[in-house]
């Protein structure tokens, strides 16, 4: 009991940080799906992705966080901006970025959210995360690499083929001829 309280005490700062980042992320995510300006949507998405990276650090997954920053904010966002540019979307606000029946998304999203909230709360209510020790955090990258080159070697190889196929496929699709 004492340890649990102690753990909760120690986590106050972390909790505050979490809620601030989470609030920013949610606002940004809403903006991504509601703004009428495509470029703004992409920029709001950067905020969300950065927030996710921050949450990774809070969750003691800094290798994933760094990968997130490099792959998403570095590469994927550039791709998106190229995509926007090459398809000549208007830089200003657009009138018809939504479907005619876009309201269909509201009930579906809400029902989905409700189901998820119910399940999550039902399963994990009161579960407290025990902080990993500094040594554990420090060894996590080692463990990841061991996992990749051990149990998950075949999936890793398969993934490399997926990436190769995607690269070839993207080139074939985008080629002008």
């Amino acid at each position: 009991m004492n340890a649990l309280l102690l753990a909760a005490d120690v986590n106050v700062a972390q909790n505050i940080g979490f809620y601030i980042i989470a609030a920013i992320m949610l606002y940004a995510a809403f903006s991504v799906v509601s703004t009428k300006n495509v470029v703004h949507a992409a920029l709001w998405l950067v905020v969300v992705l950065g927030g996710v990276a921050a949450q990774y650090i809070l969750a003691a997954a800094e290798f994933v966080a760094v990968s997130q920053v490099m792959v998403y904010i570095g590469a994927v966002m550039v791709l998106f901006l190229f995509g926007i540019m090459l398809t000549r979307a208007s830089i200003g606000a657009d009138t018809d970025v939504n479907n005619k029946d876009w309201k269909l998304g509201i009930p579906v999203g809400l029902v989905f959210f409700g189901v998820l909230v119910y399940t999550v709360v039902d399963a994990f209510e009161g579960t407290v995360i025990v902080e990993p020790s500094a040594a554990q955090i420090a060894s996590s990258t080692t463990l990841i690499s061991d996992g990749y080159l051990g149990d998950y070697l075949i999936p890793l190889i398969a993934l490399s083929f997926v990436l190769l196929a995607a690269a070839v496929g993207a080139i074939v699709l985008a080629r002008k001829d």
Partner: protein, 783 residues
Amino acid sequence: MLLAAQETAAAGWFLENAWLIPLIPFVAFFVILLFGKKMPRGGSEVGIASMVAALVVAAGAAYQWIDRVDSSHGEEVEPVIRQWVWWQSGGTRFGIGEHIDGLAIVVLLLVAFISTLVQIYSTEYVKGDRRYTHYFASITLFSAGMLIMVLAPNMVQLILGWEIMGLTSFLLIGHWWEEKANSEAALKAFWTVRVGDVGLLVGTAVLLGIFGTLDIKGINDSAAAGQFGSHNALMWAAIALFIACIGKSGQFPLHTWLPDAMAGPTPVSSLLHSSTMVVAGVYLVARLYPVFHVGLEINAVGQTFNLIAVIGGITVIVAAALAFVQNDIKKVLAYSTVSQLGYMMMGLGVGAWTASVFHIFTHAFFKCCLFLAAGSISYTASHHSFDMKKDMGGLWKKMPITFGAWMVSTAALAGIPFFSGFFSKDEIIDSAKHADYTIFYLVGIVGAFMTIAYMTRATYLVFFGTPRGGAAHFMGVEHGLEHRDDHAHETLGHDDHSDDHADQSDHGHDDHPEPVRGRPFPFAKYDSPWKITAPLLILGTLAVGSGYLNAPAVGVHWFEHQTESSIGLPLAEHEADGDNAEQVSSEHAVDESVGAEDVGAAEHAADSAIYSVPEPPKFAWGAAAPGLLLVLAGFLVSLFLSLAVFGKRKNVLSPLVGITERNKLFGAGHRFLVNKLYLDHLYEKVIVHGVAYPVSKAAYWFNQNIIDGVVDGAGRSTKRTGEWVYRNIDQRLVDGAVNASGMVANESGHALQPVQSGKVNHYGALLFGAAAVGAIVLILLNV
């Protein structure tokens, strides 16, 4: 790293390295594909070399296996198993390696040997083909697939080989895909077999669930020892696996792909239908025999039929009936293959394991030989046609090697005594009788009757009677050559000539230049080139000789002795009331060991050594007599029917066929006549009408009036039954079921059409909405 090294001290190099056998052709496939076109002979040399190398290793392994059995002194001969980790996922490791025992050795040797001959044959047959290199690549990979499957120590490798075969059979059947019929046949073969393959996957999954292992030896041992949770589960596993065998081995409901698969080049048909592909299903049953035997309670007390025997039995009869109404020589052989596979399945279904495996062995030689002979005919004589009625007839004179090989193989197929098919088929039939499966005994002998009948019909149409179409042209060309050579030559039927010369006047020799082809053997200069006839000679010899590895009629049980340890079940002496094998197995392990130890005692012990079927080794002519009488009857019925029906339809003088062969006088008169070429037509008419016609009339009268009532009637009804089965069962019932399932899919598609708005967003909404609803249902279920 070795997954499981059940290594034995003195297994011998070839046995330990038998994994090279499939590896060599597998590597050769890539070599041919990548470098074949740059090679002087288009990659065929690599294919043949790889098959020869595989054959050498297989022969070495066979030699060492025989040594191993002989030096075991009656103890149980352990298979040689080596496995390496192929891949792993999570904690499960999947092995690849080899599992060598008597059964595997037999089929390995068979596949390597026949593949070698077929590839040599192919170098001539597909010479100049536009996809020559690809052909050899595919056929090499095909053999590799079969070898991988045969060597499989576990189900995963077995499925791998099985699927490689499925893929390459598609490539080979559709080799000439520019013609729509060919590509359709390839697709049909592929999909029909895929239907069965679902059963293989399901059955394997169930086996993994029951036994917790994918190793074939583990599965067999556990099944034979009764170490499984539920017998029902084992039964369903056996049924699922058997569905796969139905698809692959062309058993009754899924046999339709096999005759269509004749669209491929003839060597491919020959390889597919003799030692590989279609045998895979039978091999699977033989390999996992304890699963099937225990799962389906074969040889249980009082059992009169079981799934395997019933499917096999139906296939024997239906396919043989269908063979009657085919005009395409390859289709006759295809249905014949289906029918013979039915025999093998039926044999396995009644517990005659050794006989069935031996039938795989003998059948491979004579059926391969028959297909290659058909290919030889179409290549040399009938202008690449396979139509027996339009383009063949009377070829026996000009193609002595093809004819001889064909006749020997036909005799073997028909089960005529002292040819190989007799020893294996008769043993299956005999075993059915002794295991108290009376129905299948009857099916067996009726099947034997039908077999010889349709083969006689085919033989008559191809080699005797009047040459027609392409064959007539061929015969005509060769006549011209004969005259130039001025050799003493033998006669043909007079009637042949009336057609020949009519044909010659239509096409002269010159407007049909000889195609570039290899040299024939000097003693058969009108026959096909030697690359075609040499395999025929070898296979023809084996069609006789292979039977003597296990010939109960002459007291040889060698084959049985070499393979009996592969059954996976203990051998049992047959009790008069059809006792179950497992119950008496322990006592008979002793019997068996005594038999192997002492050659003198081997005779007696081996008499009871067939699994729960004691008699077949103790061969009795009396027991075989009903079958043999029916074979004789079938021959006579079909012969007279062929003479009456085909002869009459082509030409009023048809009965002359018999006369010219019997009467030397006509032969001599005829020889005289051919030298006067331009008068031949007239003389033919004079001789034929003046002399031969009355004689033929008499023979015809004899045929029609004396034998007609019994023979013709019986024959006609057989033919009508065959046609009826083809029309109603094959075309309506089977195809109808297929069409009905298509209809259902079509209708349900129409009903669901409005959902398909074509808009991605709608699909997204449906997807996530359905996921949400599904989640709610799961939550409600779990609350």
